[in-house]
Protein backbone atom coordinates (compact mmCIF):
# COMPACT_ATOMS: atom_id res chain seq x y z
CA UNK A 1 0.00 0.00 0.00
CA UNK A 2 1.34 3.44 -0.95
CA UNK A 3 1.61 6.40 1.39
CA UNK A 4 0.20 9.90 1.15
CA UNK A 5 2.44 12.96 1.38
CA UNK A 6 1.21 13.59 4.94
CA UNK A 7 1.97 9.99 5.99
CA UNK A 8 5.46 10.25 4.48
CA UNK A 9 6.22 13.43 6.43
CA UNK A 10 4.90 11.78 9.62
CA UNK A 11 7.16 8.79 8.96
CA UNK A 12 10.20 11.01 8.52
CA UNK A 13 9.43 13.14 11.59
CA UNK A 14 8.69 10.15 13.83
CA UNK A 15 11.58 8.01 12.62
CA UNK A 16 9.24 5.21 11.53
CA UNK A 17 9.22 3.44 8.19
CA UNK A 18 5.60 2.40 8.23
CA UNK A 19 2.68 3.95 10.03
CA UNK A 20 -1.07 3.69 9.92
CA UNK A 21 -3.70 6.41 10.06
CA UNK A 22 -5.17 6.47 13.56
CA UNK A 23 -1.95 5.55 15.33
CA UNK A 24 -0.41 8.06 17.76
CA UNK A 25 3.24 8.91 17.13
CA UNK A 26 5.76 11.35 18.60
CA UNK A 27 6.95 13.87 16.05
CA UNK A 28 10.19 15.82 16.03
CA UNK A 29 9.20 19.43 15.43
CA UNK A 30 11.16 21.58 12.96
CA UNK A 31 9.56 24.93 13.78
CA UNK A 32 7.29 26.18 16.57
CA UNK A 33 5.47 29.46 15.92
CA UNK A 34 3.62 31.57 18.45
CA UNK A 35 2.16 35.08 18.78
CA UNK A 36 0.98 37.67 21.29
CA UNK A 37 -2.29 35.96 22.28
CA UNK A 38 -0.98 32.45 22.93
CA UNK A 39 2.73 33.14 23.43
CA UNK A 40 2.55 34.52 27.00
CA UNK A 41 0.43 31.65 28.42
CA UNK A 42 2.66 29.15 26.57
CA UNK A 43 5.78 30.68 28.12
CA UNK A 44 4.07 30.65 31.50
CA UNK A 45 3.27 26.91 31.29
CA UNK A 46 6.80 26.18 30.04
CA UNK A 47 8.38 28.05 32.97
CA UNK A 48 6.11 26.31 35.48
CA UNK A 49 7.02 22.90 34.09
CA UNK A 50 10.70 23.30 33.25
CA UNK A 51 11.78 25.93 35.76
CA UNK A 52 12.46 29.67 35.51
CA UNK A 53 16.06 29.14 34.44
CA UNK A 54 15.33 26.61 31.73
CA UNK A 55 16.46 27.09 28.14
CA UNK A 56 14.19 26.26 25.24
CA UNK A 57 14.96 23.19 23.12
CA UNK A 58 16.35 25.09 20.13
CA UNK A 59 16.24 28.87 19.93
CA UNK A 60 16.63 28.83 16.14
CA UNK A 61 13.44 26.82 15.79
CA UNK A 62 11.13 29.11 17.71
CA UNK A 63 9.52 31.91 15.72
CA UNK A 64 7.46 34.63 17.40
CA UNK A 65 5.31 37.11 15.52
CA UNK A 66 3.29 39.58 17.56
CA UNK A 67 0.33 40.14 15.22
CA UNK A 68 -3.08 39.76 16.86
CA UNK A 69 -3.70 42.79 19.11
CA UNK A 70 -1.09 45.30 18.06
CA UNK A 71 -2.51 48.75 17.34
CA UNK A 72 -4.63 49.05 20.45
CA UNK A 73 -4.60 50.99 23.70
CA UNK A 74 -5.75 47.95 25.63
CA UNK A 75 -3.17 47.71 28.45
CA UNK A 76 -3.50 43.94 28.86
CA UNK A 77 -2.91 43.40 25.13
CA UNK A 78 0.15 45.64 25.16
CA UNK A 79 1.44 43.88 28.24
CA UNK A 80 1.30 40.60 26.31
CA UNK A 81 3.62 42.04 23.66
CA UNK A 82 5.93 43.25 26.45
CA UNK A 83 6.04 39.71 27.82
CA UNK A 84 7.09 38.36 24.40
CA UNK A 85 9.78 41.03 24.14
CA UNK A 86 11.10 40.20 27.60
CA UNK A 87 11.15 36.46 26.91
CA UNK A 88 12.88 36.92 23.56
CA UNK A 89 15.61 39.00 25.18
CA UNK A 90 15.99 36.53 28.03
CA UNK A 91 16.33 33.55 25.66
CA UNK A 92 18.27 35.57 23.08
CA UNK A 93 15.88 34.58 20.29
CA UNK A 94 16.95 35.33 16.72
CA UNK A 95 13.42 35.00 15.32
CA UNK A 96 11.37 37.51 17.29
CA UNK A 97 9.75 40.10 15.03
CA UNK A 98 9.05 42.96 17.40
CA UNK A 99 6.36 45.60 17.05
CA UNK A 100 7.58 49.13 16.49
CA UNK A 101 10.83 47.98 14.86
CA UNK A 102 11.85 47.35 11.25
CA UNK A 103 11.56 43.64 12.00
CA UNK A 104 7.78 43.86 12.54
CA UNK A 105 6.04 41.65 9.98
CA UNK A 106 2.34 41.36 10.78
CA UNK A 107 0.18 38.26 10.38
CA UNK A 108 2.18 35.18 11.35
CA UNK A 109 1.09 32.74 8.65
CA UNK A 110 2.01 35.09 5.82
CA UNK A 111 5.22 36.17 7.52
CA UNK A 112 6.25 32.51 7.94
CA UNK A 113 6.12 32.15 4.14
CA UNK A 114 7.87 35.47 3.42
CA UNK A 115 10.64 34.86 5.94
CA UNK A 116 11.46 31.38 4.67
CA UNK A 117 10.20 29.27 7.58
CA UNK A 118 7.98 27.16 5.32
CA UNK A 119 10.30 24.40 4.18
CA UNK A 120 8.88 21.45 2.20
CA UNK A 121 8.97 18.11 3.99
CA UNK A 122 9.24 19.65 7.47
CA UNK A 123 6.91 19.76 10.48
CA UNK A 124 5.65 23.08 11.82
CA UNK A 125 3.42 23.54 14.85
CA UNK A 126 1.89 26.86 15.82
CA UNK A 127 -0.34 28.16 18.58
CA UNK A 128 -2.88 29.25 16.02
CA UNK A 129 -5.46 27.16 14.24
CA UNK A 130 -4.58 28.70 10.86
CA UNK A 131 -1.04 27.30 11.09
CA UNK A 132 -2.35 24.82 8.49
CA UNK A 133 -1.74 27.65 5.94
CA UNK A 134 1.92 26.59 5.66
CA UNK A 135 0.86 23.24 4.19
CA UNK A 136 0.76 24.99 0.79
CA UNK A 137 4.54 24.41 0.80
CA UNK A 138 4.40 20.59 0.81
CA UNK A 139 4.97 20.40 4.57
CA UNK A 140 2.97 19.29 7.62
CA UNK A 141 1.69 22.28 9.57
CA UNK A 142 -1.00 22.38 12.21
CA UNK A 143 -2.30 24.34 15.18
CA UNK A 144 -2.00 23.36 18.83
CA UNK A 145 -2.79 24.91 22.20
CA UNK A 146 -0.50 26.38 24.79
CA UNK A 147 0.21 23.20 26.76
CA UNK A 148 1.29 21.35 23.62
CA UNK A 149 3.38 24.32 22.53
CA UNK A 150 5.02 24.51 25.98
CA UNK A 151 5.82 20.81 25.71
CA UNK A 152 7.47 21.43 22.34
CA UNK A 153 9.39 24.40 23.79
CA UNK A 154 10.97 22.09 26.33
CA UNK A 155 11.39 18.89 24.34
CA UNK A 156 11.10 19.60 20.59
CA UNK A 157 8.55 16.81 20.40
CA UNK A 158 4.79 16.35 20.47
CA UNK A 159 2.36 13.47 20.02
CA UNK A 160 0.02 13.49 17.06
CA UNK A 161 -2.42 11.06 15.53
CA UNK A 162 -1.55 10.03 11.97
CA UNK A 163 -4.48 11.48 10.01
CA UNK A 164 -6.44 9.80 7.26
CA UNK A 165 -6.28 11.86 4.08
CA UNK A 166 -9.02 13.34 1.93
CA UNK A 167 -8.20 14.41 -1.61
CA UNK A 168 -9.69 17.39 -3.44
CA UNK A 169 -8.85 17.63 -7.14
CA UNK A 170 -9.70 20.75 -9.14
CA UNK A 171 -9.77 20.27 -12.90
CA UNK A 172 -9.78 22.86 -15.65
CA UNK A 173 -8.57 26.41 -15.93
CA UNK A 174 -9.65 29.01 -13.36
CA UNK A 175 -11.98 31.61 -14.87
CA UNK A 176 -11.12 35.24 -14.15
CA UNK A 177 -14.04 35.62 -11.71
CA UNK A 178 -12.96 32.75 -9.42
CA UNK A 179 -10.32 32.65 -6.71
CA UNK A 180 -9.04 30.01 -4.32
CA UNK A 181 -11.43 31.44 -1.71
CA UNK A 182 -14.42 30.46 -3.87
CA UNK A 183 -13.04 26.92 -4.14
CA UNK A 184 -12.51 26.41 -0.42
CA UNK A 185 -15.91 27.91 0.44
CA UNK A 186 -17.37 25.52 -2.10
CA UNK A 187 -15.66 22.54 -0.43
CA UNK A 188 -16.90 23.71 2.98
CA UNK A 189 -20.47 23.72 1.71
CA UNK A 190 -20.00 20.10 0.61
CA UNK A 191 -18.22 18.64 3.63
CA UNK A 192 -19.31 21.08 6.43
CA UNK A 193 -17.32 22.38 9.39
CA UNK A 194 -16.53 18.93 10.74
CA UNK A 195 -16.15 17.12 7.42
CA UNK A 196 -12.38 16.79 7.75
CA UNK A 197 -11.98 16.57 11.53
CA UNK A 198 -8.68 14.90 12.43
CA UNK A 199 -7.91 14.41 8.72
CA UNK A 200 -5.47 15.77 6.17
CA UNK A 201 -6.90 17.70 3.22
CA UNK A 202 -4.76 17.24 0.13
CA UNK A 203 -5.31 19.49 -2.89
CA UNK A 204 -4.25 18.84 -6.48
CA UNK A 205 -5.33 19.12 -10.12
CA UNK A 206 -4.68 21.42 -13.04
CA UNK A 207 -6.28 24.46 -11.40
CA UNK A 208 -4.02 24.07 -8.36
CA UNK A 209 -0.89 23.58 -10.49
CA UNK A 210 -1.51 26.96 -12.10
CA UNK A 211 -2.17 28.76 -8.81
CA UNK A 212 0.47 30.99 -7.26
CA UNK A 213 1.61 30.32 -3.68
CA UNK A 214 -0.61 33.06 -2.23
CA UNK A 215 -3.73 31.52 -3.70
CA UNK A 216 -2.65 28.06 -2.56
CA UNK A 217 -2.32 29.44 0.96
CA UNK A 218 -5.98 30.56 0.84
CA UNK A 219 -6.93 26.91 0.31
CA UNK A 220 -4.74 25.35 2.98
CA UNK A 221 -5.56 28.20 5.41
CA UNK A 222 -9.18 27.18 5.61
CA UNK A 223 -8.61 23.43 6.04
CA UNK A 224 -9.25 24.09 9.74
CA UNK A 225 -12.70 25.49 8.86
CA UNK A 226 -13.59 21.92 7.87
CA UNK A 227 -11.95 20.66 11.07
CA UNK A 228 -8.91 19.44 9.11
CA UNK A 229 -5.67 18.68 10.94
CA UNK A 230 -3.73 20.01 7.96
CA UNK A 231 -4.09 21.14 4.38
CA UNK A 232 -1.33 20.15 1.98
CA UNK A 233 -0.18 20.71 -1.60
CA UNK A 234 2.89 18.93 -3.01
CA UNK A 235 5.93 20.83 -4.19
CA UNK A 236 6.06 21.75 -7.87
CA UNK A 237 7.78 24.40 -9.99
CA UNK A 238 5.59 27.15 -8.54
CA UNK A 239 6.74 26.24 -5.01
CA UNK A 240 10.35 25.83 -6.10
CA UNK A 241 10.42 29.22 -7.81
CA UNK A 242 8.89 30.96 -4.78
CA UNK A 243 11.47 29.35 -2.49
CA UNK A 244 14.39 29.99 -4.86
CA UNK A 245 13.53 33.71 -4.84
CA UNK A 246 14.00 33.83 -1.09
CA UNK A 247 17.14 31.73 -1.24
CA UNK A 248 15.80 28.32 -0.20
CA UNK A 249 17.07 25.53 -2.41
CA UNK A 250 17.47 22.42 -0.29
CA UNK A 251 14.55 20.49 1.09
CA UNK A 252 12.83 17.12 0.99
CA UNK A 253 10.12 16.66 -1.57
CA UNK A 254 7.37 14.20 -0.77
CA UNK A 255 4.58 13.13 -3.10
CA UNK A 256 1.59 10.88 -2.50
CA UNK A 257 1.96 7.45 -4.08
CA UNK A 258 -0.51 6.59 -6.82
CA UNK A 259 -1.82 3.72 -4.70
CA UNK A 260 -2.23 5.80 -1.52
CA UNK A 261 -5.37 5.17 0.47
CA UNK A 262 -7.77 8.10 0.86
CA UNK A 263 -10.73 8.41 3.19
CA UNK A 264 -12.53 10.13 0.30
CA UNK A 265 -11.78 11.78 -3.03
CA UNK A 266 -13.61 14.83 -4.39
CA UNK A 267 -13.33 15.88 -8.04
CA UNK A 268 -14.35 19.38 -9.10
CA UNK A 269 -14.44 21.13 -12.46
CA UNK A 270 -13.73 24.76 -11.72
CA UNK A 271 -15.83 25.93 -14.68
CA UNK A 272 -18.91 24.70 -12.82
CA UNK A 273 -18.16 26.72 -9.65
CA UNK A 274 -19.62 30.22 -9.31
CA UNK A 275 -18.49 33.11 -7.10
CA UNK A 276 -19.35 31.77 -3.65
CA UNK A 277 -20.19 33.14 -0.20
CA UNK A 278 -20.52 31.66 3.27
CA UNK A 279 -23.58 33.26 4.83
CA UNK A 280 -23.86 34.03 8.56
CA UNK A 281 -22.96 32.35 10.93
CA UNK A 282 -20.80 29.50 9.69
CA UNK A 283 -18.10 29.06 7.03
CA UNK A 284 -20.02 26.07 5.64
CA UNK A 285 -23.26 28.02 5.12
CA UNK A 286 -22.53 28.16 1.40
CA UNK A 287 -24.46 29.94 -1.30
CA UNK A 288 -23.71 31.51 -4.65
CA UNK A 289 -23.14 35.25 -4.69
CA UNK A 290 -25.98 35.39 -7.24
CA UNK A 291 -28.47 34.03 -4.69
CA UNK A 292 -27.66 36.65 -2.05
CA UNK A 293 -27.15 39.57 -4.42
CA UNK A 294 -28.70 42.79 -3.18
CA UNK A 295 -28.11 42.05 0.53
CA UNK A 296 -27.53 45.47 2.08
CA UNK A 297 -24.09 45.95 3.67
CA UNK A 298 -22.71 48.29 6.30
CA UNK A 299 -19.00 47.34 6.03
CA UNK A 300 -16.56 45.65 3.68
CA UNK A 301 -13.30 44.11 4.90
CA UNK A 302 -10.30 42.84 2.96
CA UNK A 303 -7.52 41.45 5.11
CA UNK A 304 -6.23 38.57 7.28
CA UNK A 305 -3.98 35.55 6.70
CA UNK A 306 -6.41 34.18 4.16
CA UNK A 307 -7.56 37.36 2.45
CA UNK A 308 -4.89 40.03 2.97
CA UNK A 309 -2.12 38.82 0.65
CA UNK A 310 -0.80 40.87 -2.26
CA UNK A 311 -2.74 38.77 -4.78
CA UNK A 312 -5.94 39.49 -2.81
CA UNK A 313 -5.28 43.22 -3.20
CA UNK A 314 -4.42 42.85 -6.90
CA UNK A 315 -7.84 41.23 -7.31
CA UNK A 316 -9.48 43.95 -5.22
CA UNK A 317 -7.78 46.73 -7.19
CA UNK A 318 -8.76 45.19 -10.52
CA UNK A 319 -12.37 45.94 -9.60
CA UNK A 320 -11.94 49.12 -7.53
CA UNK A 321 -9.82 50.99 -10.09
CA UNK A 322 -11.63 54.19 -11.02
CA UNK A 323 -14.57 53.38 -8.72
CA UNK A 324 -15.92 54.70 -5.40
CA UNK A 325 -17.01 52.57 -2.47
CA UNK A 326 -20.49 53.13 -1.03
CA UNK A 327 -19.86 51.65 2.44
CA UNK A 328 -16.84 51.85 4.78
CA UNK A 329 -14.27 49.52 3.24
CA UNK A 330 -11.21 48.39 5.21
CA UNK A 331 -7.97 47.34 3.53
CA UNK A 332 -5.74 45.47 5.99
CA UNK A 333 -2.53 44.14 4.40
CA UNK A 334 -1.54 40.94 6.19
CA UNK A 335 2.15 41.82 6.39
CA UNK A 336 4.37 44.86 6.20
CA UNK A 337 5.79 43.37 3.00
CA UNK A 338 2.29 43.29 1.49
CA UNK A 339 1.73 46.87 2.71
CA UNK A 340 4.92 48.00 0.94
CA UNK A 341 3.86 46.27 -2.26
CA UNK A 342 0.59 48.24 -2.27
CA UNK A 343 2.70 51.29 -3.13
CA UNK A 344 4.89 49.44 -5.64
CA UNK A 345 2.38 47.49 -7.71
CA UNK A 346 0.30 49.38 -10.23
CA UNK A 347 -2.66 49.08 -12.57
CA UNK A 348 -2.53 51.50 -15.53
CA UNK A 349 0.30 53.34 -13.79
CA UNK A 350 -1.70 53.92 -10.56
CA UNK A 351 -0.48 52.20 -7.42
CA UNK A 352 -2.84 49.83 -5.62
CA UNK A 353 -2.61 52.14 -2.62
CA UNK A 354 -3.78 55.12 -4.68
CA UNK A 355 -6.55 53.05 -6.24
CA UNK A 356 -7.84 52.18 -2.76
CA UNK A 357 -7.49 55.71 -1.39
CA UNK A 358 -9.16 57.20 -4.49
CA UNK A 359 -12.02 54.74 -4.07
CA UNK A 360 -12.50 55.94 -0.49
CA UNK A 361 -11.15 52.87 1.32
CA UNK A 362 -9.54 52.99 4.76
CA UNK A 363 -6.07 51.43 4.77
CA UNK A 364 -4.96 50.00 8.11
CA UNK A 365 -1.60 48.83 9.40
CA UNK A 366 -0.67 45.16 9.09
CA UNK A 367 -2.07 42.91 11.80
CA UNK A 368 -4.89 40.44 12.38
CA UNK A 369 -7.11 43.47 13.20
CA UNK A 370 -10.87 42.85 13.06
CA UNK A 371 -10.70 39.33 11.59
CA UNK A 372 -11.17 38.09 15.14
CA UNK A 373 -12.85 41.16 16.60
CA UNK A 374 -10.09 42.06 19.01
CA UNK A 375 -10.11 44.77 21.69
CA UNK A 376 -12.87 47.40 21.40
CA UNK A 377 -10.61 49.96 19.66
CA UNK A 378 -9.65 47.55 16.83
CA UNK A 379 -10.03 49.08 13.37
CA UNK A 380 -12.87 47.62 11.31
CA UNK A 381 -14.40 45.78 14.30
CA UNK A 382 -18.07 44.99 13.72
CA UNK A 383 -20.65 46.77 15.83
CA UNK A 384 -24.27 45.90 16.65
CA UNK A 385 -26.40 45.35 13.59
CA UNK A 386 -23.49 45.45 11.13
CA UNK A 387 -23.76 43.43 7.94
CA UNK A 388 -20.22 42.81 6.73
CA UNK A 389 -18.75 41.09 3.69
CA UNK A 390 -15.20 39.99 4.36
CA UNK A 391 -12.31 38.03 2.85
CA UNK A 392 -11.50 36.54 6.28
CA UNK A 393 -12.00 32.92 7.26
CA UNK A 394 -14.62 32.76 10.02
CA UNK A 395 -18.11 34.17 10.46
CA UNK A 396 -19.18 32.54 13.71
CA UNK A 397 -21.44 34.70 15.94
CA UNK A 398 -19.37 37.58 17.31
CA UNK A 399 -16.22 36.60 15.44
CA UNK A 400 -15.55 40.09 14.07
CA UNK A 401 -16.85 41.92 17.14
CA UNK A 402 -20.55 42.26 17.88
CA UNK A 403 -22.65 39.13 18.46
CA UNK A 404 -25.52 40.82 16.61
CA UNK A 405 -23.50 41.53 13.46
CA UNK A 406 -23.72 39.32 10.39
CA UNK A 407 -20.66 38.30 8.40
CA UNK A 408 -20.59 37.03 4.82
CA UNK A 409 -17.29 35.46 3.69
CA UNK A 410 -16.23 35.75 0.06
CA UNK A 411 -13.37 36.32 -2.37
CA UNK A 412 -11.71 39.75 -2.63
CA UNK A 413 -13.32 40.12 -6.07
CA UNK A 414 -16.79 39.74 -4.54
CA UNK A 415 -15.98 42.07 -1.62
CA UNK A 416 -14.69 44.73 -4.04
CA UNK A 417 -17.75 44.50 -6.31
CA UNK A 418 -20.01 44.66 -3.25
CA UNK A 419 -18.15 47.69 -1.84
CA UNK A 420 -18.91 49.64 -5.01
CA UNK A 421 -22.60 48.76 -4.93
CA UNK A 422 -23.15 48.84 -1.15
CA UNK A 423 -24.98 45.54 -1.54
CA UNK A 424 -23.64 42.04 -2.18
CA UNK A 425 -22.73 41.95 -5.86
CA UNK A 426 -21.47 39.32 -8.29
CA UNK A 427 -17.95 40.31 -9.40
CA UNK A 428 -18.72 39.26 -12.97
CA UNK A 429 -20.57 42.59 -13.31
CA UNK A 430 -17.23 44.42 -13.06
CA UNK A 431 -14.93 42.07 -14.95
Amino acid sequence: MGMTITEKIFAKASGKKILQPGENVWLNVDVLMTHDVCGPPTINIWKNEFGVNAKIWDKNKLVIFPDHYIFTNNPHANRNVDLLRQFSAEQNLPNYFDVGTEKYKGVCHIALAEEGFNIPGTVLFGTDSHTCTSGAFGMFATGVGNTDAAFILGTGKIWEKVPESMKFSFHGEMPEYLTAKDLILHILGDITTDGATYRAMEFDGEAIEKMNMNERMSLTNMAIEAGGMNGIISVDDVTKNYLAEIGIKEYDEFYSDADSKYFSIYEYYVSSIEPTVAKPHSPDNRDTVRNVEGTKLTKCYIGSCTGGKITDFQNTAKILVGQKVKVPTFIVPASTQVAAKLSEETINGISLKEIFLNAGCIIAESSCAACLGGPSDTIGRSTDGDVVISTTNRNFPGRMGSKTSEIYLSSPLTVAASAISGVITDPRKFL
Binding site: N24, V37, C38, P40, P41, N44, E49, F50, Y69, N74, H76, A77, R79, N80, G126, T127, D128, S129, T131, G143, V144, G145, N146, T147, D148, F151, G154, T155, K161, T193, D194, T197, Y198, G227, M229, S282, L372, G373, G374, P375, S376, R394, F396, P397, G398, R399, K403
Partner: protein, 185 residues
Protein backbone atom coordinates in the same frame (compact mmCIF):
# COMPACT_ATOMS: atom_id res chain seq x y z
CA UNK B 1 -9.61 11.38 38.04
CA UNK B 2 -12.83 10.56 39.88
CA UNK B 3 -14.89 7.78 38.37
CA UNK B 4 -18.25 9.31 39.31
CA UNK B 5 -19.03 12.93 38.41
CA UNK B 6 -22.28 14.50 39.54
CA UNK B 7 -23.59 17.94 38.63
CA UNK B 8 -26.08 20.12 36.85
CA UNK B 9 -26.16 20.11 33.05
CA UNK B 10 -25.83 23.13 30.78
CA UNK B 11 -27.03 22.13 27.31
CA UNK B 12 -25.75 23.61 24.05
CA UNK B 13 -26.23 23.00 20.32
CA UNK B 14 -23.92 21.88 17.51
CA UNK B 15 -20.73 23.66 16.38
CA UNK B 16 -20.05 25.60 19.59
CA UNK B 17 -16.94 27.41 18.40
CA UNK B 18 -14.18 28.87 20.56
CA UNK B 19 -15.40 32.45 19.94
CA UNK B 20 -18.66 31.46 21.66
CA UNK B 21 -16.80 29.71 24.49
CA UNK B 22 -14.52 32.69 25.16
CA UNK B 23 -14.82 35.72 22.82
CA UNK B 24 -11.46 36.86 21.43
CA UNK B 25 -11.63 40.29 23.09
CA UNK B 26 -11.16 38.63 26.52
CA UNK B 27 -7.98 36.76 25.54
CA UNK B 28 -5.87 39.62 26.88
CA UNK B 29 -6.08 38.51 30.52
CA UNK B 30 -3.11 36.81 32.14
CA UNK B 31 -3.52 33.09 32.76
CA UNK B 32 -0.96 33.17 35.59
CA UNK B 33 -2.32 36.09 37.64
CA UNK B 34 -5.03 34.58 39.91
CA UNK B 35 -7.34 37.62 39.85
CA UNK B 36 -7.12 38.00 36.07
CA UNK B 37 -7.56 34.25 35.59
CA UNK B 38 -11.00 34.56 37.20
CA UNK B 39 -12.10 36.72 34.26
CA UNK B 40 -11.90 33.65 32.04
CA UNK B 41 -14.56 32.06 34.24
CA UNK B 42 -16.70 35.19 34.27
CA UNK B 43 -16.80 35.38 30.46
CA UNK B 44 -17.01 31.63 29.81
CA UNK B 45 -19.69 30.82 27.18
CA UNK B 46 -20.50 34.55 27.00
CA UNK B 47 -20.35 34.43 23.19
CA UNK B 48 -23.24 31.99 22.86
CA UNK B 49 -26.26 33.80 21.36
CA UNK B 50 -28.77 34.15 24.20
CA UNK B 51 -31.53 32.20 22.43
CA UNK B 52 -29.21 29.20 22.23
CA UNK B 53 -27.75 29.53 25.71
CA UNK B 54 -29.03 26.63 27.84
CA UNK B 55 -31.26 24.44 25.68
CA UNK B 56 -34.03 23.58 25.11
CA UNK B 57 -35.47 26.95 26.09
CA UNK B 58 -32.41 29.18 25.72
CA UNK B 59 -32.04 32.48 27.61
CA UNK B 60 -30.23 30.73 30.50
CA UNK B 61 -27.16 32.44 31.83
CA UNK B 62 -24.17 30.15 32.28
CA UNK B 63 -22.66 32.70 34.66
CA UNK B 64 -25.23 34.62 36.76
CA UNK B 65 -24.89 38.37 37.30
CA UNK B 66 -21.53 39.29 38.81
CA UNK B 67 -20.57 35.69 39.61
CA UNK B 68 -17.17 34.35 38.47
CA UNK B 69 -18.10 30.67 38.36
CA UNK B 70 -21.06 28.71 37.12
CA UNK B 71 -23.62 26.57 38.93
CA UNK B 72 -23.35 24.08 36.04
CA UNK B 73 -20.43 21.63 36.17
CA UNK B 74 -21.41 19.43 33.21
CA UNK B 75 -21.76 20.71 29.65
CA UNK B 76 -23.79 18.72 27.14
CA UNK B 77 -22.98 19.60 23.53
CA UNK B 78 -23.76 18.36 20.04
CA UNK B 79 -21.49 17.87 17.07
CA UNK B 80 -18.09 19.50 16.52
CA UNK B 81 -17.78 21.02 20.01
CA UNK B 82 -14.93 23.54 20.27
CA UNK B 83 -14.42 24.18 16.56
CA UNK B 84 -12.55 27.26 15.39
CA UNK B 85 -9.42 28.73 16.90
CA UNK B 86 -6.61 26.99 18.79
CA UNK B 87 -7.06 29.12 21.92
CA UNK B 88 -6.43 26.96 24.96
CA UNK B 89 -8.25 29.73 26.83
CA UNK B 90 -11.47 27.93 25.70
CA UNK B 91 -11.20 24.75 27.80
CA UNK B 92 -9.36 26.82 30.43
CA UNK B 93 -12.33 29.22 30.73
CA UNK B 94 -14.78 26.34 31.18
CA UNK B 95 -12.44 24.82 33.80
CA UNK B 96 -12.12 28.13 35.66
CA UNK B 97 -15.92 28.49 35.57
CA UNK B 98 -16.18 25.12 37.32
CA UNK B 99 -16.94 22.69 34.47
CA UNK B 100 -15.57 19.20 35.11
CA UNK B 101 -16.71 17.29 32.06
CA UNK B 102 -18.21 17.80 28.61
CA UNK B 103 -20.33 15.21 26.85
CA UNK B 104 -20.70 15.90 23.12
CA UNK B 105 -21.27 13.89 19.97
CA UNK B 106 -17.91 14.98 18.53
CA UNK B 107 -15.10 17.48 19.12
CA UNK B 108 -12.85 19.66 17.02
CA UNK B 109 -9.29 18.36 17.18
CA UNK B 110 -7.47 21.25 18.86
CA UNK B 111 -10.13 21.81 21.53
CA UNK B 112 -10.05 18.09 22.32
CA UNK B 113 -6.25 18.04 22.59
CA UNK B 114 -6.23 21.19 24.71
CA UNK B 115 -8.84 19.79 27.11
CA UNK B 116 -6.86 16.57 27.54
CA UNK B 117 -3.25 17.77 27.38
CA UNK B 118 -3.94 20.80 29.57
CA UNK B 119 -5.81 18.59 32.05
CA UNK B 120 -8.68 21.10 32.13
CA UNK B 121 -11.79 19.09 31.37
CA UNK B 122 -12.66 15.53 30.43
CA UNK B 123 -14.10 15.51 26.89
CA UNK B 124 -16.35 12.47 26.50
CA UNK B 125 -18.11 11.47 23.30
CA UNK B 126 -21.71 10.32 23.48
CA UNK B 127 -22.89 7.48 21.30
CA UNK B 128 -26.22 9.09 20.46
CA UNK B 129 -27.31 12.70 20.27
CA UNK B 130 -27.98 13.79 23.87
CA UNK B 131 -28.53 17.53 23.65
CA UNK B 132 -32.19 16.93 22.74
CA UNK B 133 -32.68 14.42 25.58
CA UNK B 134 -31.19 16.40 28.45
CA UNK B 135 -32.43 19.81 29.60
CA UNK B 136 -30.39 22.58 31.14
CA UNK B 137 -30.60 22.23 34.91
CA UNK B 138 -31.05 18.41 34.91
CA UNK B 139 -29.05 16.64 37.61
CA UNK B 140 -26.60 14.28 35.89
CA UNK B 141 -24.41 11.44 37.10
CA UNK B 142 -21.56 10.29 34.86
CA UNK B 143 -19.82 6.98 35.62
CA UNK B 144 -16.44 6.87 33.88
CA UNK B 145 -15.86 3.29 34.96
CA UNK B 146 -19.04 2.08 33.29
CA UNK B 147 -18.94 4.76 30.57
CA UNK B 148 -22.51 5.88 31.06
CA UNK B 149 -24.54 8.93 31.95
CA UNK B 150 -27.71 8.96 34.04
CA UNK B 151 -30.21 11.79 34.11
CA UNK B 152 -31.24 11.76 37.77
CA UNK B 153 -34.53 13.57 37.11
CA UNK B 154 -35.77 10.92 34.64
CA UNK B 155 -33.66 7.95 35.71
CA UNK B 156 -32.66 7.31 32.10
CA UNK B 157 -29.15 6.02 31.40
CA UNK B 158 -27.18 6.54 28.17
CA UNK B 159 -23.94 4.82 27.19
CA UNK B 160 -20.85 6.90 26.41
CA UNK B 161 -17.76 6.13 24.34
CA UNK B 162 -14.65 5.12 26.28
CA UNK B 163 -11.82 7.69 26.27
CA UNK B 164 -9.59 5.53 24.06
CA UNK B 165 -5.93 6.29 23.48
CA UNK B 166 -5.86 9.49 25.54
CA UNK B 167 -7.15 7.86 28.75
CA UNK B 168 -3.68 7.68 30.30
CA UNK B 169 -3.12 11.41 29.75
CA UNK B 170 -6.55 12.19 31.25
CA UNK B 171 -5.89 9.92 34.24
CA UNK B 172 -2.50 11.57 34.76
CA UNK B 173 -4.13 15.02 34.76
CA UNK B 174 -2.50 16.32 31.58
CA UNK B 175 0.40 15.90 29.18
CA UNK B 176 3.20 17.03 31.51
CA UNK B 177 2.15 14.69 34.33
CA UNK B 178 1.83 11.88 31.81
CA UNK B 179 5.27 12.56 30.33
CA UNK B 180 6.83 12.59 33.83
CA UNK B 181 5.19 9.30 34.66
CA UNK B 182 6.62 7.85 31.46
CA UNK B 183 10.03 9.42 32.28
CA UNK B 184 9.97 11.37 29.03
CA UNK B 185 10.83 14.63 30.79
Amino acid sequence: MANIIVGKAFVLGDNIDTDQIIPAEHLVYSTSNPSELKMYGKFSLSGVPIEKSGLPNGSCKFIEGEELTSGYSIVIGGKNFGCGSSREHAPLSLHVAGVKIIVAESYARIFYRNSVDGGFIIPIESIEKLNDKISTGDEIEIDLGKNNLTVMTTGKTYNLKPLGSVIEIVRSGGLFNYARKKKMI
